[in-house]
């Protein structure tokens, strides 16, 4: 049975290609094509957490809030908002906004969107992977068709940040077509483009939505193509097969800058790199050894020579654009002599052997440079590269076994707040992510909790300054830098990279 159905595919396969047409001509002027490394597994904006999916979703859906190019809050589906108390916010909704299927967006849809992510999953049915992002929300109350109240469990300073990517979906429509169809063929939002065709691992074709409340986007057709190979993406960009590609690596930048039909646009983004140190075991159970490691790294050289200058040194892990950053806390200077002294004081006058781990394949050369720099001051490092798959299981989740540390990065989920990195990386609560395995810093948990449970921003700021000083002194990580988002763009299109890793293509314009 199986064999027959498989064999039956051969003629079908040949037939599907039988309608021959000439090679793809240069694209029509009103089409914008984006090359992505992969095509997301569902278009349902609440049922994945892949960057390549978010980039598509934001052009098809709106959230309550939006961020301008300067990353300031802008009204989107909510026209205004205000805090009613420490735990309750009021949002006035935009009137007369249409979904792609013709329904009008109301408070019902807003409540439904939150509820479908917050509701516990039934057996066999997976809960939304975005639950963690909004679980501080206790309830969404409908006041009238144009007003909702969002109530949080505790004071939740990150609420507005979380609402910038939280797409509002049409309740009646989803209830009618079902979740499966909504994610594949019957996707409907309120955004600038609506779905035409979704083909897994191939492309997503969108078309301008005439009734979008911002007006019509400059490009009538928006196509996302899945092109896994970087060399192919570059070839497509040069020949006009695609107009925008992402994650252009440092070595490709000069080529795309020099090419007559392409240019490069970059923006600093939140993705911050670090080497987390295992504080449970020697040698990094000693503060002086951790500080020595921090003095051993020539961060500026890595950024300039290995990343083509597309990065900036960060003193701790809190990004300069995140709320809570304090410029008075400065980076560790590169000082190999001091590093050796500190290491000797920590009890390792003859150096020490360690192993560091990483699954951050794109930055393998950087990882190896870090290992070399550590080795030069006597922290003789074996860098161990893992496949992104099984990596997580093998090192820091292994209790009671020295793993020394790992090199990785954190993108803050595009939330510009210190809490978005401090809590997942350093908090030791059992529900936390990395912190519970590696981190042993007295008082850090309490400070993180204190800063996240008030909406008084000046008090939060003070607490974060205190945390930054504590982090620098205790050095639970080797602090490194943040990277840039680098796009290769066709000269036919005008577009600038954003600081939040978004591809907000409503802003893209054809160049004359």
């Amino acid at each position: 049975m199986l064999r027959r159905s498989v064999l039956a595919l051969v003629p079908t396969a040949l037939l599907t290609l039988a309608v021959a047409s000439p090679p793809a001509a240069a694209q029509a002027k009103d089409t914008l094509t984006v090359g992505l490394a992969s095509i997301v597994s569902t278009l349902d904006p609440h049922m994945h957490f892949e960057r390549v999916g978010i980039l598509v979703n934001i052009n098809m859906f709106d959230s309550l809030l939006h961020k301008s190019f300067k990353l300031e809050y802008e009204p989107s589906l909510a026209v205004s908002w205000k805090a009613l108390s420490d735990t309750s916010w009021e949002f006035k909704l935009r009137k007369g906004v249409k979904f792609h299927n013709g329904d009008t967006m109301t408070a019902e849809d807003v409540k439904y969107s939150f509820d479908r992510v917050l509701e516990p999953g039934q057996t066999g049915k997976k809960k939304s992977p975005q639950y963690g992002n909004i679980r501080a929300i206790k309830e969404v109350r409908i006041v009238n068709p144009d007003t909702v109240h969002i109530v949080t469990e505790k004071p939740y300073p990150l609420l507005l940040e979380r609402l910038v990517f939280f797409p509002i979906v049409p309740r009646k429509h989803i209830e009618k077509v079902g979740e499966q169809a909504f994610g594949e063929s019957a996707t409907a939002g309120t955004g600038p483009w609506k779905l035409v065709e979704y083909k897994r691992d191939q492309h997503i074709k969108l078309e301008a939505f005439d009734q979008h409340w911002r007006g019509r986007p400059a490009f009538t057709h928006l196509v996302f193509r899945g092109i896994p190979e970087v060399a192919t993406q570059v070839a497509e960009l040069k020949t006009g097969g695609v107009d925008i590609i992402r994650n252009v690596s440092a070595d490709l930048v000069p080529d795309l800058k020099a090419h007559p039909q392409t240019y490069v646009t970059t923006a600093p983004i939140l993705r911050t790199h670090y080497v987390h140190l295992d504080m449970r075991h020697a040698p990094f159970d000693k503060k002086l050894a951790r500080q020595a490691a921090n003095h051993a790294i020539d961060r500026e050289a890595i950024v300039q020579r290995m990343m083509a200058g597309l990065g900036r040194v960060v003193p701790t892990v809190v990004h300069p654009s995140a709320f809570g950053y304090d410029a008075s806390v400065t980076p560790y200077p590169y000082d190999p002599k001091k590093a050796k002294e500190l290491l000797a004081k920590a009890g390792y006058p003859n150096g020490v052997d360690i192993t560091l781990h990483s699954a951050f394949i794109e930055f393998r050369p950087v990882f190896e440079a870090i290992a070399q720099m550590l080795t030069e001051v006597g922290i003789r490092t074996t860098p161990k590269m893992w496949d992104p798959g099984p990596a997580w299981n093998k090192f820091f989740q292994t209790e009671g076994k020295a793993t020394n540390g790992y090199y990785g990065s954190w993108g803050y989920y595009s939330v510009f707040d210190a809490d978005a990195i401090l809590h997942p990386l350093y908090h030791t609560e059992p529900g936390g992510w990395v912190g519970k395995h590696y981190i042993r810093v007295e008082g850090l948990d309490q400070l993180i909790d204190q800063a996240r449970s008030t909406v008084d921003q000046s008090r939060r700021k003070q607490t974060y300054s205190q945390i930054l000083r504590l982090l620098k002194e205790e050095s639970p990580s080797i602090f490194l830098f943040h990277q840039f988002d680098t796009l290769g763009v066709s000269k036919k299109v005008e577009y600038a990279a954003r600081g939040d890793e978004w591809l907000w293509l409503f802003a893209a314009k054809p160049k004359r």
Binding site: L2, S21, A24, P129, Q202, G389
Partner: protein, 304 residues
């Protein structure tokens, strides 16, 4: 004849069981998919998902469940795509099969005549040139060939699309790439097996009968020389089917190879299992076809 068929079908079943044991056990050793599905989620959420996916059950139970379902074509839902795994795999088969068939056809089309010619004209300029091309072809990695072809035909000359899977034009470069990988080996086989038979007595007899050289080569020599070619071409089919991954990646072809690699990276057990199973079945089927061809080409097999 019937006994032969029964034996082959039995072999097919044994392979099916073998494949399911292997895929099931390899994947069990490779890690926890939950930490990949939600890497940054709290432990409580992960535990819930692990339970929902049945990953906490004892291994033998998981295996029995797997085999029982696989028997009726149910490999479970993909962890990532949230749809049944088998249709997901079948949906990706057409590009991969098309590519495999096209490239093997292309390889045979080139390797048979050139192989015969260089055997017949052994030591000629053509023969030497062929040897060089074979060396080159076998030492070039597929991804490199692919990228070079793109640069030449799509970027420089612009008469073929760079990548994608839209029409016959977009199949040209990937088929060429994949074909250039298997053509050299086939060519070598044709040449050496032709050389083996061309000096045998029966060929001389055929010539002595006054048959035309063309007829002698094609009818008498080639039929016997074809046996190793058929074997290797059958094996190549399997190799191309699996080896299409790199070509599919370079040319952004939405084939099953990319699906598998993606699924392995995401530890999407059901999809890996379904695709390995389907591919193994196709390969077994092709081997079966090769056996039948043998019977046709070599009467001795029929008699035994």
């Amino acid at each position: 004849m019937t006994a032969l068929l029964v034996r082959r079908i039995l072999r097919l079943l044994i392979v099916a069981i073998g494949v399911s044991v292997v895929t099931f056990s390899i994947l069990q050793a490779s890690g926890d998919p939950v930490s990949l599905i939600m890497p940054e989620a709290p432990e409580a959420d992960r535990a819930a998902l692990r339970a929902a996916l049945g990953l906490n059950d004892p291994l033998p139970l998981q295996f029995v469940r797997f085999v029982g379902n696989a028997a009726v074509g149910n490999f479970g839902h993909s962890f990532f795509h949230r749809t049944p795994a088998l249709p997901l795999v079948l949906e990706r088969m057409p590009p991969t099969l098309t590519l495999t068939v096209l490239s093997l056809g292309l390889a045979l089309l080139v390797s048979i005549p050139v192989g015969i010619l260089s055997a017949v004209r052994r030591g000629s300029l053509l023969d030497h040139a062929t040897t060089v091309v074979v060396f080159l072809g076998q030492s070039m990695p597929v991804f490199w060939t692919g990228i070079m072809l793109i640069l030449l035909f799509a970027v420089q000359w612009r008469f073929l699309p760079v990548s994608g899977w839209n029409d016959w034009w977009s199949a040209v470069l990937p088929a060429l790439t994949l074909g250039s990988f298997s053509a050299p080996l086939l060519l070598r086989i044709v040449r050496s097996s032709m050389l083996d038979v061309i000096h045998l007595d029966y060929v001389r007899t055929a010539r002595a009968k006054g048959l035309s050289e063309w007829f002698v080569i094609c009818r008498h020599a080639l039929t016997n020389a074809a046996l190793p070619l058929v074997t290797v071409a059958g094996l190549q089919f399997g190799l191309l089917l699996g080896g299409a991954v790199i070509t599919e990646t370079v040319f952004a072809v939405p084939g099953v190879g990319r699906l598998i690699v993606g699924a392995i990276r995401q530890l999407d057990f059901p999809v890996v299992q379904a695709s390995v199973f389907v591919l193994a079945m196709i390969i077994v089927t092709v081997n079966f076809a090769v056996d039948l061809l043998y019977i046709y080409l070599n009467p001795q097999v029929r008699v035994r």
